[in-house]
C-alpha cells in the first residue's frame, strides 16, 4: 500500500486543490442540488424500508 511513495511535502495541498476544483466542477453541473434533494428526503434504503 505504498501507492503514494515518493510524493513530496506539498502533495496534500495539490490534493486539496484538486478537491476544490472537483467541487467547482460539481457545482457547475448542478450536483449539489442532487445531493441536497437526496439529503432532505428520508432515505428509505438507508433506514431499511425502501
Amino acid at each position: 500500500m505504498d501507492f503514494w511513495k515518493g510524493c513530496n511535502r506539498w502533495a496534500w495541498a495539490l490534493g486539496a486543490l484538486t478537491g476544490g476544483l472537483l467541487l467547482a466542477l460539481g457545482a457547475l453541473q448542478g450536483q449539489f442540488d442532487v445531493i441536497w434533494k437526496k439529503a432532505v428526503m428520508i432515505c428509505l434504503e438507508c433506514i431499511g424500508i425502501g
Binding site: 500500500m1 486539496a16 478537491g19 467541487l23 450536483q31 438507508c46 433506514i47 431499511g48 424500508i49
Partner: protein, 278 residues
C-alpha cells in the same frame, strides 16, 4: 490526548447531529447545510443530521440516470482526505465514536484484530468497489440503480437514521419489514463484535475508511516517527489499537491517527505534525 480525542468526537457528533426538533418529531433537517457533506460516516436520514453523508452523496450522484462523474462528492473526499486523511475516522466520525465506546465496555477480553486480518482488511476496498460504486452504477434489483451500501450494509444508517426515525414516526414504523430486520441484524453483529474487537467496521468494512486510507500517506495531518530517537521499546505498537509498528504508523492506510502511540512513547519520538519528511 485520550480525553481530548473523546471530547472532540463527542462535540463533533453533537454539533453535526444537532437538529433536536428532528429527534422529537421523527423528521429530518431540510435546510441549506445539506448541500454540504460532513467528513465522517453520518447518515443524512438521521433526524439530527445537519449535513449530508459523503458516501450517501457519492451513491446519489452515481444513481442518476446516465453516467456522470460524481465531481461534488469526490471533491469533498479529496478535500477531507488530503487535509485530514484517516484522522477523520479517529476523531470526527460518529460511528467510530460508537465503536470506541462499545470497545470500552469491560465485558470480555479485548482483541485488536480478527483472525486473518491480513486478508480481511481488504474487505473495505471490496465494499467500496462492489457496493458503493458497482452497486450504484450497474443495474440491480428490477433494473433500478440501487445505493447498495446504504441499503444492505450501512450500520450508521440503521443506528443514527432508522432507529430514531422509526421510534418517533408511526407511519414509517408500520412499513418496516425484512430489509429492516436484515439491517438491524448487521448492526447488532457489528455492535457485538465491537465490544471484543477494536472498530471492526472501520478496519474491515467501511468504504469511507478505505478512501481516506489512500490519502494517509500524504495528508497534512501526520504522525511522524523520529527514527533516531527510537529505542525500539515497542510501547507504541502495544498501545496502537490496530497493532501498527512505528515504521508503519505514518504511512499505513490502517492508522486512524488516534494518537495512542504518541501518548505511549517514552522518548517522544512519535508526534503529530503537519511537517513531511519526504
Amino acid at each position: 490526548m485520550k480525553k481530548l480525542r473523546l471530547t472532540v468526537q463527542l462535540l463533533f457528533t453533537i454539533v453535526t447531529n444537532g437538529y433536536l426538533y428532528g429527534f422529537l418529531n421523527g423528521k429530518i433537517y431540510r435546510g441549506g447545510l445539506k448541500y454540504l457533506c460532513v467528513p465522517g460516516l453520518n447518515c443524512y436520514s438521521c433526524p439530527g443530521a445537519i449535513a449530508a453523508c459523503p458516501i450517501g452523496a457519492l451513491q446519489a450522484l452515481l444513481n442518476q440516470q446516465g453516467f456522470q462523474i460524481p465531481f461534488a462528492a469526490l471533491g469533498f473526499l479529496f478535500l477531507f482526505g488530503s487535509v485530514l486523511g484517516r484522522f477523520v475516522c479517529g476523531w470526527l466520525c460518529p460511528f467510530g465514536l460508537v465503536q470506541d465506546l462499545l470497545h470500552k465496555l469491560p465485558i470480555c477480553k479485548k482483541k485488536k484484530r480478527l483472525p486473518c486480518h491480513h486478508i480481511l482488511k481488504y474487505g473495505k476496498y471490496a465494499v467500496l468497489i462492489l457496493l458503493v460504486v458497482a452497486g450504484s452504477i450497474f443495474l440491480w434489483g428490477g433494473f433500478a440503480k440501487v445505493p447498495a451500501f446504504c441499503k444492505y450494509l450501512c450500520p450508521s444508517g440503521t443506528l443514527l437514521g432508522a432507529i430514531p426515525l422509526l421510534s418517533a414516526n408511526e407511519a414509517l414504523r408500520s412499513q418496516a419489514g425484512g430489509l429492516f430486520l436484515w439491517k438491524l441484524g448487521v448492526l447488532l453483529a457489528i455492535v457485538l463484535l465491537s465490544i471484543r474487537v477494536y472498530r471492526p467496521f472501520c478496519q474491515y468494512l467501511c468504504p469511507l475508511g478505505a478512501i481516506y486510507g489512500l490519502f494517509n500517506r500524504f495528508s497534512l495531518v501526520q504522525i511522524h516517527w523520529e527514527k533516531e530517537l527510537c529505542i525500539s521499546c515497542m510501547a507504541c505498537e502495544s498501545a496502537c489499537p490496530v497493532a501498527l509498528s512505528p515504521q508503519e504508523i505514518s504511512r499505513s492506510p490502517e492508522c486512524i491517527r488516534c494518537g495512542k502511540c504518541v501518548d505511549a512513547c517514552p522518548r517522544n519520538c512519535l508526534l503529530f505534525s503537519p511537517k513531511h519528511r519526504g
